[in-house]
Symmetry: C2
Subunit: 196 residues, 2 copies
């Protein structure tokens, strides 16, 4: 394949991902249609399948970006001098605000169906590992006596707890509380956990 | 309307809910189709809309049942003599096992779109309130100093935390851990929180 056509493919890929990001952000993952993306990117419907296996693959690429943005938001929220519990609270609050400001993109991270039998892609596992490593540091400071396996479990348990509070907190059907109340819940739980 | 035709309507309603329950349980909420339900219940496609407003309303009725079953599973898991932290752990484990054994039905509780602008139905709020009242009791014992508003917030925070651990724990994409590990995570978090 010539370099020129490779470049064109790369540009089309990029345009499709951008179009999908805008649409997922605005309308949610479940409303994503290949037809609309072809129109947005100015290509024929069939041309999409020259650069992506399917619509799912485009959404996965958007999720890759979202994960990087989320990682930045969490990773730049603390200065490193905070006591560990405080750092966990600050990071969790950054997670909440990212989810609140980018609700549809953030939801897509968890709603997108992975190929049922296939393995979870490496970039997804790595992005998650990156997010977890931010949490692992204060967890190690808080619980120096845990062994590696217990530490990993605690890190995942804390992420999952905060994720649960944020998810249900942002769901109108459950409680529909304002973000300040969600912050209070996160603080309550994390302070108790860190209060040895 | 005659009593006989009322009875027939009631029976059709019941058959449709049963058929939807079987299908959601087996294939998940997103694969639910009115056409299939009409076939299962032995009625014309259009007859469905004489007894239900739409497919969503049938799924809501299934969720009502699932909530009752979940409430029973959680409400019968403890004997009342346990120390409060232990009781929270026992109830959470019952929640985990219900979610693990009835994954598609349990997911539907959270995945079903409520009418976007309409209010959340009363039965849904009441079912949730019932579930929360099981949690509120040990929370009050654990934290007698919290005022009513803080107690409510803590109750919701604990439910949300356990829900997050169960949800991500059962998701293959995140970690795909066996239920015993999920139980360990729940125990870790709840014991720390109760450890004043």
């Amino acid at each position: 394949m010539s370099t020129k056509s490779q470049l064109r493919r790369e540009q089309l890929r990029e345009r499709l991902i951008e179009a999908a990001e805008i649409r997922i952000d605005r309308d949610g993952l479940s409303d994503l249609r290949a037809r609309d993306l072809a129109k947005d990117a100015g290509c024929a419907l069939g041309a999409i399948y020259n650069v992506f296996e399917d619509l799912n693959a485009i959404a996965m690429a958007v999720n890759g970006r979202t994960f990087r943005l989320l990682g930045q938001a969490v990773g730049t929220s603390f200065d490193g001098g905070e006591p560990p519990v405080q750092r966990l609270i600050v990071m969790s609050t950054a997670y909440l605000h990212f989810a609140d400001s980018n609700t549809n993109l953030w939801r897509a991270l968890f709603d997108l169906k992975m190929t049922d039998d296939g393995p979870v892609p490496d970039w997804y596992r790595n992005a998650l590992k990156g997010l977890f490593s931010y949490i692992a540091e204060p967890v190690e400071q808080l619980f120096p006596d845990l062994d590696r396996a217990e530490m990993d479990l605690m890190t995942r348990a804390l992420f999952s707890s905060v994720h649960g509070i944020v998810t249900l907190g942002l769901e109108n059907r459950i409680s529909g509380v304002p973000p300040e109340q969600i912050e209070r819940m996160i603080t309550q739980v994390l302070s108790r956990i860190g209060n040895k």
